[in-house]
């Protein structure tokens, strides 16, 4: 069976990335170390905040098109999804599909050297789970 190794990151949706980053720093002293504006043509901006061996990703929609905006409109601000690191993404996708979970095909992630796939929240008790394979750190 596939190995689900660790929490790679937690996505937090926000209407105001700058204010959200300010609050995470004020409350817990956590600061972003990298940001991307509309990565791979996606309709959002993202800032990454390291915490332990994982990250928080603050994501703000900047376009009314795309999957992220649709879900953001339904669910509002707050915790949005979790990302779990796997060794072998294609193997993990095949394994979960065989178990009856709804999983998307693998695609390149927004960060260099990553590939990702999405497990439907309907298969994971309401949690949107991303699987991520990192070929370089």
């Amino acid at each position: 069976m596939a190995t689900f190794k660790r929490i790679d990151h937690v996505v937090i949706a926000t209407e105001d990335l700058e204010d959200a980053a300010r609050l995470w720093e004020r409350n817990l002293g956590l600061k972003p170390d990298a940001s991307l504006d509309r990565p791979r043509g996606a309709g959002f901006m993202v800032s990454r905040i390291p915490v332990g061996d994982a990250f928080l990703e603050l994501v703000q929609p900047v376009s009314q098109r795309g999957r992220f905006y649709q879900q953001f409109r339904e669910r509002g601000e707050g915790m949005f999804s979790i990302s779990i690191e796997v060794e072998d993404l294609d193997g993990a996708v095949a394994y979960l599909q065989e178990k009856g979970a709804r999983v998307s095909q693998a695609e390149p992630g927004i960060w260099p050297g990553s590939r990702v796939a999405r497990v439907s929240h309907a298969s994971a008790h309401g949690v949107s789970i991303q699987l991520i394979e990192r070929s370089m750190q």
Binding site: M1, A2, T3, F4, K5, R6, I7, V10, I12, T14, E15, D16, D19, A20, L23, W24, R26, N27, L28, G29, L30, V51, G52, D53, A54, G76, E77, G78, M79, F80, S81, I82, I84, E85, L96, K99, A101, H121, S123, A124, H125, G126, V127
Partner: protein, 133 residues
């Protein structure tokens, strides 16, 4: 000081059904389970890397997790960060005027814990925990 993500809390209707996915399909090890009457939950803690997934089933619809399920349905409920001293962290937060749920640390599943108000983090319910050895 924040050391790491201690756990991610997930609200579910039925703990046994949720374990079929998180334990049986994902293969995560359940290292503790408990019923905590005062918090109105039945919980299971599953190890994932250096963190945990905490599955929470409400004991009644009036409990905080019960009301969350009623309002939003199953899904991500809170994120807990580990700190060496939850008491001093809480004092710092009070000085800064951060909106809190708990004014004092209390005993929780993860050790000594406190919750910040979701308003303090634009809609994210944040817990801080110092594990008890």
């Amino acid at each position: 000081m924040i050391e790491k993500i201690h756990h991610i809390g997930i609200a579910v209707h039925d703990l046994d059904k949720a374990l079929r996915f998180y334990r049986d399909t994902l293969g995560l090890h359940v290292h503790a389970s408990a019923t905590v009457e005062e918090q109105g939950v039945k919980a299971a803690l599953l190890t994932i890397g250096q963190s945990e997934i905490e599955l929470l089933e409400p004991l009644s619809p009036e409990s905080p997790v019960g009301r969350f399920l009623e309002r939003k349905g199953e899904g991500l409920h809170h994120i807990c960060f580990q700190t060496p001293d939850v008491g001093s962290e809480l004092e710092e937060l009070k000085k800064k005027g951060v909106e809190l749920v708990d004014q004092q640390p209390r005993r929780g599943l993860a050790g000594m814990i406190c919750f910040l108000h979701p308003k303090a983090s634009r809609g994210v319910l944040v817990e801080l925990a110092t594990p008890i050895e």
